[in-house]
């Protein structure tokens, strides 16, 4: 039988280990930073469309993390999304005519804001607004536009085969439209 003191020291170590593990879970795994916010200043940008941007999405410049999105609201008058971002105070010389893009990390990744620096000699400071913004690309809209364009292109061709009502004509149409997609792709390249 261990003495009470030994038992208590073991339990104390156990508690310490668990607390350290909780710290790791909080800060390393879930990235909980709201307790110890690094010094930062807030910049506002208005976007027409923010896609899947969320609070705590990263803000990057040249691919390097410089801050995060702190709040997203909708302006009730202009119906634009107001995105506030906290930028690390070390990067306090960002030109105020820089542009903000909402990009996607990889094909399936999350959205993030990419700032592109310009050449102004005045710098962004707390509360200033980025005027030059580019909305998020919405994949569905792009596909929709593509299909719309393809549909407009192939309808004239399809009209030449409308007199044919057999199944073969249908497959011809499909072939035609496939062909169109190919040419479209080639043109885009």
């Amino acid at each position: 039988m261990l003495s009470q003191r030994t038992i208590e020291s073991f339990v104390g170590l156990f508690l310490l280990a668990a607390m350290m593990a909780l710290m790791v879970l909080a800060f390393k795994v879930s990235g909980l930073t709201s307790f110890f916010k690094p010094k930062s200043y807030t910049v506002i940008a208005m976007f027409d469309e923010i896609g899947q941007l969320k609070v705590r999405s990263p803000v990057k410049m040249g691919g390097v993390l410089i801050g995060e999105v702190s709040s997203i609201t909708l302006d009730p008058q202009s119906f634009k999304a107001i995105v506030k971002m906290d930028i690390d105070h070390r990067f306090n010389e960002i030109p105020d005519d820089s542009s903000a893009n909402i990009l996607t990390a990889g094909l399936l990744g999350d959205n993030y804001i990419a700032l592109t620096p310009m050449y102004s000699q005045t710098f962004l400071k707390s509360g200033s607004t980025i005027e030059d913004t580019h909305s998020a690309m919405i994949l569905e809209k792009m596909i929709g536009q593509l299909i719309y364009k393809l549909g407009g292109g192939s309808s004239s061709k399809a009209s030449t085969t409308t007199s044919n009502t057999s199944n073969a004509s249908d497959s011809n149409k499909i072939d035609d439209s496939n062909h169109n997609v190919d040419t479209q792709k080639r043109i885009q390249k």
């Binding site: 009470q4 038992i7 208590e8 339990v11 280990a17 593990a21 795994v29 879930s30």
Partner: protein
Amino acid sequence: MSMDVAALGRWGIDSLRELGRAGLLLLRVVFRLPDFKKGFPLVMQQVYAEGVLSLLIIVVSGLFIGMVVALQGYHTLVKFGAAQQLGPLVALSVTRELGPVVTALLFAGRAGSAVTAEIGLMKATEQLSSMEMMAVDPLRRVIAPRLWGGFISMPLLAIIFNTVAIYGAYLVGVKWLGLDAGAFWSNMQTSVDFHLDVINGLIKSVVFGLVIVWIALYQGYYAEPTSAGIANATTRTVVYSSLATLGLDFVLTAMMIGGW
């Protein structure tokens, strides 16, 4: 036919009575004035017996489960070119499900069975009744510290399990399979939410801990005072608490996903 119906009825009444006795036991242990000065050292001893002594099995299984999940996850993710998402995959599955549930199952096997066997033997050798003779309340002296010990140990063990499992995944994903360490952690941080994932997992483990020690205490306290009775009680502890863990896990997950 009528005999079968009667047997069914008797089984129903017996089960309900058993549930009621277990509920009363819990009620008598939980709702009473605590005596911190006498109780604290006893609870410490139980945290040691149920928590500290379970650490080895928890750490080793956490490490290996993290490594296996990382290996399996990588194997599938790499087919979609999404191997960078290994961190979120492991962290979410461990903090949300595997951590609390596997810890609870191990805890039931390691600590729950020990509690049942200990109390069952105390009862069989009439230690509990001799305590009553000496005007020492066995509920306060024996049962309550074990309940609180399990209640405290279980979430702590689950936290340690989570952390070790994630480092196991780091070991396999980054050190062995060569993923980028920065992407591993930063992808994890963007997709894991402290409250929704980590804290909800810990709430689960608190519930599991309470239910497991409750079952273990009940089975021990009302065990048939023979060697076969204690053996049966220990088996039932492990079976019932594992089933209760898995069942409650579904209910809790459904509630948490529904936002309570």
